[in-house]
Symmetry: C2
Amino acid sequence: MAEDTRLRYIVIAVASLIIGACIGLAAAPLPAAPGGDTDRETLFQVSTIDALLQGVYDGSMTFDELAKHGDLGIGCGDRLDGELVGVDGEWYLVRTDGRAYPVAGNATTPFAAATFFDPDMTIAIEEPMNLTALEGYLETELPSKNLFYAIRMDGTFSRVVARSVPVQEKPYPRLADVVANQTVFTFENVTGTAVGFWTPALAEGVNVPGYHLHFITGDRAAGGHLLDMTLTEGTVQLGTTTNFTMRLPVGGDFWMVDLSDDLERVEK
Amino acid sequence: MAEDTRLRYIVIAVASLIIGACIGLAAAPLPAAPGGDTDRETLFQVSTIDALLQGVYDGSMTFDELAKHGDLGIGCGDRLDGELVGVDGEWYLVRTDGRAYPVAGNATTPFAAATFFDPDMTIAIEEPMNLTALEGYLETELPSKNLFYAIRMDGTFSRVVARSVPVQEKPYPRLADVVANQTVFTFENVTGTAVGFWTPALAEGVNVPGYHLHFITGDRAAGGHLLDMTLTEGTVQLGTTTNFTMRLPVGGDFWMVDLSDDLERVEK
């Protein structure tokens, strides 16, 4: 066999091996995507709101891990260092300067809720509505008061009032005492997005019953925990969520905190 | 080029393609197995206890589906037709005749909880303990009162008191009224297994805080919802469970039932 013929054999064999390997990879069953059908219809939560109210502020899950369970969400940073806003898979912490900082993937959260946002209802807002009116209207549209709903509001806001709280040090005070020192920001005539959840009463203690929304400006530069707003024009989208998954901390303050009482609830 | 050289090129190319495809398939990431580590540490629940208390008795998940989420569990049958006992991946419904019937995979449950049982603590019982004493003792051993625990007790029981409730028809009465007509069975000097969960107070409304156990005899022939017992000799195993997943019904009575009040709770 001539030398160049042998070389051709080898080149053809190697090329075919590579092509074959690619075909094999393409034909292999895909790993269950984070975001299989059930996952996409799941509200994923880290810890409980009552633990946060009681001062359990040490982060127990990284933002990289949280992002595997949703592309929209809210929560807070480790030691309450910032209000968490997740939108379109981008995650920010709004600190007491009112600015939104992209999260570090290896930073952690003590409390967060996330979902892959698949809206089931879209409502166009064509006349200005304040938060109370809008929340009241949306509640009449919910197909059931016993499910979870992911919420996303995009548009122009004539006014937004939002807050953040300062990072805490041990021994941690209760959240009610932290919120007494919150910093409040007012935005006027901004475009932006409010994201969050409506939680059914059945989950009281686990999350905040009713609405819990965080805001971020259109340029993703500022925002906070939403206290009040007037949406001038835009859209409100709701995603019905029938599955709920909660990851409780595998150690730390959470294990020993007293969660048996009816706690003073300050998130609203 | 000679005909046989060309043929050899083709043979080598095809063989290499096949080998390459096999390498590609072998190198592809495996699909996530049902029952990965996280799944095994998850208490999986169908609907909520408060919905059951309010009379939401239509099944919303098949036992085949439930069994994908655990090998140990408790709950009830469609229309309250039997007390559910799942042990070692075998699932039974105990009806008002006191007998345990293997479930049909396509039958449904309106309320159930299940997990893959991986015990973290094993306690040997060498002197007779009644249910109150045993439950009190176990609570002192729980590493945290804010987590879920799967429980399995195997041994010889000098006495077991268990109950079942009759299958219901619409319009469904509340569970308190159904339980008023429960059938109670007493077993003496039997071997058997009690399975169930300890639920933290944070999940009140979602499940029964504290203990909820169902019993089945060693021959898997009889049992019921555990009301009282004395464990003469045996073992008690506890599995700490930090993840919780809940599937709410995607329709039916659940969507409209009022779950906003503090309900009279009769499961204990």
